[in-house]
Symmetry: C2
Subunit: 172 residues, 2 copies
DNA sequence: ACCTTTTATTCCACCAGTGAACTATCCGCT
DNA sequence: AGCGGATAGTTCACTGGTGGAATAAAAGGT
């Protein structure tokens, strides 16, 4: 029943062992950091699995969602780069793909003709409305056994970490 | 001083907005999942930055660390695939790279000649001992402001989530 | 008018990761 | 002993995401 995850076992085992030869290893921090990468990757993997039938990848999905969540349904490539942590080159490719599928439109801005206004289409909205709900059961399943308090706690810890990451010295 | 992370803002804003048009969205779960991906990616990114000077990537580093942490300093490609969540094809490439740099050796196993024994070299050990400590300051920095209790909590929550992820229905 | 900056795109090269086919070895069964 | 199937790794060809450099167009400052 309770077959243990070999990766987690390896993390625990490994860090304990390494500590023997390198005592000043911040073990707790290293363990959490390693698990964050592991869990983050697993979540991403599951998301990708759910997106596959729709022929969408992570970045495209994120981009589409951001547009969907905007009151006016628009953004610009530059903005989307910031929100999705993608490079400009990549964003061009992503929006190309979404335009080709009729989920968004691209048009030059009137005020500043350098800018491009990206707008989700009616089809795009319907698409999002269709594809999100089927994800909910699995999403809830991932958080079974988590009380509301635990979720709040989890949320808080992640935010705190995100903030610390933002204040890291860019060099060193 | 407190410039807020635009990604986090977008997550909060976005999920709140989406909830308006799709009320049964499990908002708390979605937020945590999204932040996990974000934070996981950021941590990975920082790790990559630290590894770059050594011309190592994430998977190579992980592989080398696993070997280092083994009492006998050995493993097999198959095992390493499980621990690193990598495909066999990829593992061949990874070990190729590490062999080329003299950090590990590859030799056929005596007992089972199908198997390959991968062993960290003395050079490999020294390499790990040199490269790990410089990461500690930054690692600790990421966790500044976290009490021991919070770390324990964080650790526990991540493990719980990892377990849930393992028990996900492979279909659906 | 001219130079600089901003915004976005195109082109190209690269690297990590994947699937399918293949080789070598082992193990169980008759 | 020998056949058949399972297991462990490797090779090859390919994809997909990523990043840099060069470019184009437009805005803004002096």
């Amino acid at each position: 029943m309770t077959k243990l995850n070999p990766c987690i076992l390896m993390i625990d085992e490994g860090i304990t062992q390494i500590q023997h030869s390198i005592p000043d290893l911040p073990a707790a921090d290293a363990r959490i950091a390693r698990m964050l990468r592991l869990v983050g990757a697993r979540v991403e993997e599951e998301l990708a699995r759910k997106l596959k039938p729709y022929k969408l990848n992570d970045s495209e999905f994120m981009t589409l969602n951001i547009l969907y969540s905007r009151p006016d349904g628009t953004s610009t490539p530059g903005e989307l780069c910031v929100f999705t942590s993608q490079g400009a080159t990549n964003m061009t490719r992503i929006t190309n793909a979404l335009v080709k599928r009729g989920l968004i439109t691209r048009q030059h801005s009137k005020e500043d003709r350098r800018r491009v206004t990206i707008r989700i289409t009616a089809t795009g909205r319907q698409f999002v409305q269709k594809m999100l709900p089927p994800m909910f059961p699995q999403l809830k399943e991932v958080f079974t056994g988590f009380s509301d308090g635990e979720k709040r706690h989890f949320d808080r810890l992640l935010r705190k970490l995100a903030t610390n990451l933002d204040y890291l010295d860019p060099d060193d």
